[in-house]
Symmetry: C2
Subunit: 212 residues, 2 copies
DNA sequence: TGTACATCAGTGAACGCGCGTTCACTGATGTAC
DNA sequence: TGTACATCAGTGAACGCGCGTTCACTGATGTAC
């Protein structure tokens, strides 16, 4: 399709862009970052992609569609990050790696992460909403199954409760890293993502195995 | 000051309000709730308080000032919730109660909670910012000290790390309750706040005592 | 290879809207004497 | 108790702005023959 390998350099007005969809998604990330996690204006995103305000409508269902697409992208990247851990055969190792990967993913894609959880997937609207819900739930279920394997013989309710605690720990730790909270609370300033990731991994195993 | 006990019923235009400051803070909470956690427009808040768009400027430094005041209110309520736990003499009981109270506080004031952590206290601006940072840090330090008492003889860095994990767990659990995430992830639907609060309390003690 | 044509993916002007903030004003309140 | 006056806390109109979205348009691309 696109013949313009060098992005839009030398592109004449009216010419096709090449991969505007991708470019808009990337521009959205930059704008989200710039506005400290808040949803940017569609016009600002278009501006950043060097495109007119109407152009995004050929690729997304308005602003909500764009933001939903960003979130979906994020959840798919998260699933990818979990995939590797899923293959591990030892339950403890599997859960520990999966939770640590969760932290690493969020640290690597902080802007995606913030948008993914800026609002509950349940309250998204539009045609992407169904896909969003599905892919979000899938990543939680991956964790829940890993918890179940470690927990052993406990009720389903207890598994859900432990998975909730484990996910809460990972999510909370990630939020501290991803927003400026770490700095604000004078904690862990010098600690690296990797240290936090490993701690979270171990803590999740602890919670899954012993319960609380 | 205010002679208008029945809010603004029967109040003539131009008359003083009584306690518009308080009324605006309450209106802000309602509007935040209505917009799913996002910062509402100052005009919408004024509208809800049955007051002209310019009125809030007699009480807050613009929109940012209002939102900062909401956050400060929240942190002060949180400190109040922690105070009771602080008096407990047994370290384990103190930490467990404090963390559980944290969850109870957030469940009781979900809108406050969301605004408190919608953006890092560090990025707030305006004259309330300093107060905000101080009161936010104070509530974290309360937790950190409770963790230290349970942890016993470990390095300061280790205390901070364990406090970080404990706070992450509580914060993550609370976020799940406060946003629609609980429902979206099909988890804990039937569980009550109290159950989660107690679980979080026990988990925090576990983390503080054994580390990860 | 050339031509006619449908489709695609842009443009840019325009729309109405609600926003944050300012400002001159005004009526009610509190105070001094 | 009455009066003069300063201050307080509202009003409502106005400002300029950026927003999301629509729309007629147009040039480039891909396809059929």
């Amino acid at each position: 399709m696109g013949q313009h390998d060098k992005k839009d350099e030398g592109r004449l007005p009216g010419q096709h862009h090449g991969d505007l969809r991708r470019a808009l998604l990337e521009a959205a990330l930059v704008e989200i970052e710039a506005s400290d996690g808040a949803a940017p204006s569609l016009r600002a995103v278009a501006r950043r992609a060097n495109v007119s305000p109407g152009a995004p409508y050929h690729h997304f269902k308005g602003k909500d569609g764009l933001m939903a697409a960003v979130a979906v992208d994020g959840f798919e990247a998260l699933r990818q990050a979990q995939r590797e851990a899923l293959a591990l055969s030892k339950p403890e190792e599997r859960l520990e790696t999966m939770s640590a990967q969760y932290v690493r993913f969020a640290a690597a894609h902080p802007t995606h992460y913030r948008i993914m959880f800026a609002q509950s997937p349940a309250t998204h609207s539009g045609d992407q909403a169904g896909h969003l819900r599905q892919v979000a739930m899938e990543s939680f279920l991956n964790l829940a199954m890993a918890v179940a394997a470690v927990a052993g013989k406990v009720s389903e309710a207890e598994v859900r409760a432990r998975a909730h605690m484990a996910w809460s720990l990972a999510h909370g730790a990630v939020m501290t890293l991803v927003t400026g909270l770490t700095q604000a609370l004078l904690v862990e300033e010098a600690e690296h993502v990797e240290v936090v990731a490993r701690r979270v991994g171990r803590a999740c195993v602890l919670i899954a195995r012993h319960g609380v």
